[in-house]
Symmetry: C2
């Protein structure tokens, strides 16, 4: 194989209760990439369509992730990468993670899959670090592994793939205001009360159990964030209205996607997810804020090869 076309899915990090540990992979929202073997050693980003991002390898998350991978293998040639961005940068559904994950997934395919998913997550995290200021795996892990993922630990990195009920759908709205990941991390408090931390880890346990048990009601009850959402949600216009409208339309729950400004809602079934989308659309239509809404099945596979 000399070239490969990749679908690089968007992802929801944190998933309410699981700040910095949980992630969920989307299906109908994602970038595309074409990666070709090249005789010129190194990583060369030759084209970026749909976003104003740097072509310089060291300044591009896909480039940095790919370089991290090449360092661990003896390979004489190099790779050319074309990136077709469809996920808006700064939207909060893992735009940079999609690029980082897609690059290492695609190159791994071209090399005959020498690396495990766990290693790919490590490489992609190094790309992510360029975008968010710190290496995080809660978007790259679901982008690479699909479904839901739990980053149990960073030192050492320990990522666990979780099952997802087959009828789990996400509705994601992106109100197009700018919230930088670094800024939205900066407003978080250094300390939390033990009481709230206990509530949060009870919910993490509940959410994970709900995934294993196919228990949508338990997933619903566990979609609660008493620590981060109360602080970050003030940065997102109409957050509370969206939350209420989603629930009223039948969603299992909702919250901030990653560091925002996108808001996600989870539902049982495509029909409900679409009704939730309609309810959210009505809210932003009455504002001056431009927005996108996507409805997506939870994607069980992650990055995948597309026909070239």
């Amino acid at each position: 194989m000399k070239a490969v076309k990749i679908f690089c899915p968007g992802t929801i990090a944190n998933v309410s209760c699981g700040f910095d540990v949980l992630g969920l992979c989307l299906d109908s929202v994602g970038d595309e990439m074409i990666i070709r073997k090249s005789e010129i050693p190194g990583i060369h980003i030759t084209k970026i369509v749909g976003a104003d991002l740097p072509l310089a390898t060291q300044k591009n998350v896909a480039g940095v992730a790919a370089l991290a991978m090449l360092k661990e293998i003896t390979y004489e040639g190099g790779f050319e990468i074309e990136i077709y961005k469809k996920i808006k940068a700064g939207s909060g559904i893992g735009s940079s993670a999609a690029s980082a994950a897609g690059a290492v997934f695609g190159i791994n395919e071209l090399l005959g899959n020498p690396f495990t998913n766990a290693k790919l997550v490590e490489f992609a995290m190094q790309g992510e670090a360029l975008a968010s200021g710190a290496p995080h795996a809660d978007n790259v892990a679901p982008a690479l592994m699909g479904g839901a993922t739990l980053v149990r630990s960073y030192t050492p990195l320990d990522v666990i793939g979780l099952p997802t009920p087959s009828e789990l759908y996400a509705t994601v709205v992106h109100p197009q205001i700018e919230v930088k990941t670094a800024d939205s991390r900066a407003i978080l408090k250094h300390n939390v009360t033990l009481k709230k931390a206990i509530q949060q880890w009870g919910n993490v346990g509940g959410f994970v159990s709900g995934l294993f048990l196919n228990d949508y009601e338990l997933i619903s009850r566990s979609l609660e964030d008493v620590i981060v959402e109360p602080i970050r949600s003030v940065l997102i216009p109409y957050f509370k209205a969206v939350k209420t409208a989603s629930k009223d339309a039948g969603a299992l729950g909702s919250g901030i996607s990653g560091s925002g400004p996108s808001i996600f809602a989870l539902s049982k079934g495509a029909e409900t997810a679409n009704e939730v989308a309609d309810a959210i659309r009505k809210i932003y239509e009455h504002t001056e804020i431009p927005f996108d809404i996507h409805t997506s099945k939870v994607n069980p596979t992650g990055c995948k090869i597309l026909p070239l």
Copy 2:
């Protein structure tokens, strides 16, 4: 049925990472109770063997739990309770929870099981509150439901039964020093760092996943408590030595049982659990501290009826 004899198991609360939310039921350690229907209305504790505890219903955890239950049902008669304590009070393996759970389980049996497990947990918690100063479910839930349990939330109470791998064994050592639950709660800090809270809820997610996946290695990696253990363990002599010796003897991990002073270790298989017990025994044998050691399978059923 006019009388019933009950086995009321000891339990491990917290289970390292799951402070206030996780619990595990023991099999070979527990109290016994005989409960008889009586024509005299109310709850009457007629005998307590093995412990110096109050017979007065309102001052006894079994009495308080049973009264909470009777309030929610129309029943003309009453119940006599004999308690045969085998779990030492203040040992940290749910002595008061065993009494509270046993009382409501037994009376429910005598009444023809009108109450669900979830309701029984609520009643038993009211007994627990008498002992620990606050209503907690992390011992009464596993005592009643067996296996591992997750208290996702207290308001409203939401207890989830978790599967336990069939080869999961606990070794529990009780160094006989006095650590009161109320005291060991008082030394906890009101605030924790967000960083440590994230580590903790990553581990809760990992532990719960490990139970569902039958993944002993994942259970092992998740048995880590970065918040409570560093503070409370200073109250328990030879804690670090026990932890090291357990791991060296093949345990998956170890930690403080409930609020201590008992220390638990989990192992895969009875043989390893017994080797862990031997290793721990060697530590306390060289001290002046009296101690008990028990090895127990994780009990999948909780309270059960014994032949009378």
